[in-house]
Symmetry: C2
Subunit: 546 residues, 2 copies
Amino acid sequence: MFTYACLVSTQAQVLYDFAAELGNNELSIREGETITITNQNIGGGWIEAKNSRGEVGLVPEDYIESACARWISDNRCETSSNTSNGNNPWTVFDNNASGGFSNNWAAQPEGTETGKTSSNAWPSGGHGHPQAYQGPGAEDDEWDEEWDDVKSSGGYAESEAGEGGAINRGGAHVGSHHTDWTYTQDGEVGPVWAYPDYQLDCVVADPKKGSKLYGLKSYIEYQVTPTTTNKPVNHRYKHFDWLYERLLEKYGSAIPIPCLPDKQVAGRFEDEFIKMRMERLQGWMTRMCRHPVISSSEVFQLFLSYKDEKDWKMGKRKAEKDETVGVMVFSTIEPEGLPDLDLIEVEQKCEQFNRFTRAMDDGVKDLLTIGNEHWKRCTGPLPKEYQRIGKAFQNLSSVFTSSGYEGEAALTDALTAAGKTYEEIAQMVAEQPKKDLHFLMETNNEYKGLLGCFPDTVGVHKAAIEKVKEADKLVAAGKITPSDKTTMSKRASTMSYSLQAEMNHFHSNRIYDYNRVMQQYLEQQVKFYEMIAEKLRHAHSQFTTM
Amino acid sequence: MFTYACLVSTQAQVLYDFAAELGNNELSIREGETITITNQNIGGGWIEAKNSRGEVGLVPEDYIESACARWISDNRCETSSNTSNGNNPWTVFDNNASGGFSNNWAAQPEGTETGKTSSNAWPSGGHGHPQAYQGPGAEDDEWDEEWDDVKSSGGYAESEAGEGGAINRGGAHVGSHHTDWTYTQDGEVGPVWAYPDYQLDCVVADPKKGSKLYGLKSYIEYQVTPTTTNKPVNHRYKHFDWLYERLLEKYGSAIPIPCLPDKQVAGRFEDEFIKMRMERLQGWMTRMCRHPVISSSEVFQLFLSYKDEKDWKMGKRKAEKDETVGVMVFSTIEPEGLPDLDLIEVEQKCEQFNRFTRAMDDGVKDLLTIGNEHWKRCTGPLPKEYQRIGKAFQNLSSVFTSSGYEGEAALTDALTAAGKTYEEIAQMVAEQPKKDLHFLMETNNEYKGLLGCFPDTVGVHKAAIEKVKEADKLVAAGKITPSDKTTMSKRASTMSYSLQAEMNHFHSNRIYDYNRVMQQYLEQQVKFYEMIAEKLRHAHSQFTTM
């Protein structure tokens, strides 16, 4: 038992350099410096501190290590290391092969071809995912910029450091292993994940502006309500980002973790931007909820249903110290009575998935390109043209009115009405993409992100296959034992089952998603054209029958 | 009594130079030369002749004057000059004012402002109409090129001279006056033309390729069937053009005669071009039929219901010698108990019409510009985009098919069907303008032509008003008598009534036409959008409901 909050002001050690921004009430600090915490209740990842020269200002709480933080960190390390490995079949391998997967395969001669691929084989926490980051420098900005902050006029937005990152770098690492990740053989499609009886879902809603630093900074907080507890929890964008990082680090080798919605979208109105981000966070969360492995993971459950601030902070730190990340996650897989696969078969499956995801990636990108152009046309030149047609009819009508000829009114009224109808149609055309194309684009955009993660996931498997192929040579050279080789084959087989289960999960979701989005798209398109026809029918009826 | 056809071969005088085209069996002839007609039955405006050097070849029959033609011409002149002026009120003026309108108003001092406008006041046969000709050189080509000819591979098309023009230039001119052109005061709208009880109409149909010169030249002949006789007559484009010239010459000062459809349209397939020309000739003929003055005119009746070739040729020559052309046509107007108008009132009416036609001209041109752009979009980028959307869906469907996942077929079938639906929609979009926009454009194009004639028609009236304004000065200077002045005022009044009747005719037709074309346009638009909705509804139904 321990309490999280340190209630007394205390000395703290600076872990990293931090340069204060002018006019932001910040305090510059240097690594190794000792500072005194003067106010711990600032919030938003900031504390007030005083340096040895008596200067007082705000510093990022993760840049310093107070006695309190250190104690918690130590305490967690201890409890973490106490976690039993239980009946995890991979622990056998951990004991036999000089400290686990990475050590085993890293032990082979450097400079060989397989040596080269081996550096790809175990991406540490999936940082190799090309789609996971939005551009150069994005990773560095992660904790320095708060992307969901609404910039205040004071210009405080650029320099805040969030919690979490620093502690992760400073703390001790002990992994906790789980045995809740299994798959079974499905009669039709092959291996599938063990799906829970209850399908988790959540609602991301009610974005609210919050503020911190005495109102100097504001941010958006979303309410996330899981269908399990039905109790809402609040999260900022950077919390979602934190969750993404954890999932990527832990599961990225086995499960493609789609990237979060873009951190920033240029040229958007604030409200529209918030709405779209919320919608995309909802989409991302729903996808995560649907994944049996992700949704049942401790970190995901924490995110959805932490009890209070203390629970959240503790859970966060625990998750950050999780060592069962990268390929180690395969050690948590429990194959349920499935036979070992032949190497050729594993390779074939791998290639098939690779081909499919690449082809689908091309198809999705193609659709997005076309959809984008269509969007531009529908919101740009097309409604303008309908508007001009409408104006031309109305203009002609007013010219006709000026004729001074009797019996003109019936025509001019009808012509004006027809003109207005085309103006209404212009409006409808311009607004339609938001009602149909939008969802088609969003779904395909999501899939583009998801498919972008596959090459890395598949890459992990390919590297494993290469290793097994090289195994005979390594045995002959006395670098590994025949028993090591058997273990490696078993692992490749397990990884292949995992990939198959993941692909089957992907396929069933894809079929569901595309069915749904196409239905939605076509339904809205039908309504759209029906409404236009109805409007025009009414316009038509106003002309005199002759 | 006389017979038209000269049955014996005879000597003929060459009226104009004609240069033979190489390889066309033609014979070069020079003005004043005497030739011998060797075959009169070639047809198509050509006869075979022999020159003094014994060379034989084809020459345009209108370039020569045979004894036979001369006799007919003389004969007609005589009968024409015998035509009684009867009780035409304008003959009073003809006798009083030194030989008619033009002589009277031309008698005023040159160089004055009114002198300047006076040159506009009496356009000889409406040749000043800016819309009547299609471009520089078009007038010169009139009888030298046969615009409706389908060029034969022999290249004979450029040099044929048609009948009519030459004889018109050579013959004596005696006008024949009619008294069948009246208007009455309508309770609501003011002066209107006296409309016939029976509304004439005609059908232009059945374009057939004919040939002449032993098959060396081919042309298109249209069948024109008036609702009066229900007996079809055949006419080539150049006959329509001839009719247009006659109507313009005779009625152009009082009635805007819309130009014929373009003589040539570049880049069209032959069949499509013929079809469009026929449609436009139909539109033009219908408009002429609807006009009570035009439709009851001798030349128009001749065109619609000549009994045989002889009747046609005789009627043509008579029409070409008609001298009641230009402003003289107003002398045939019989005002039915309408009081003389005040000059100010005449001027106001004139201005009102001018403003209206200009405004409508602008409105119509605007609509045409927009319609053209819309046409381009509907037949160019828009269907291409729908096609690409369709292809993208189908492409995605075939990628999905390659997944190897069970239970894929329902989605891929539906997705393929949706893709095909969008390809069908692309086709529909591309073809739709022909079904609706086409008629809207054609009608507005017709009105553009018609409105283009109004400035000249109005100009004639304005010039007359100016003359009347100057009359006091002229009387004081002893250039005209007070009685002349009264006559001029009366004429301006009559012309104003005529213009009012014409505008009322224009307005009632315009209301009818725009009502009809808008109904047609909207009806087709409704059908179009309904059909798209229906197609999409069907595509939607193929997706699995979840």
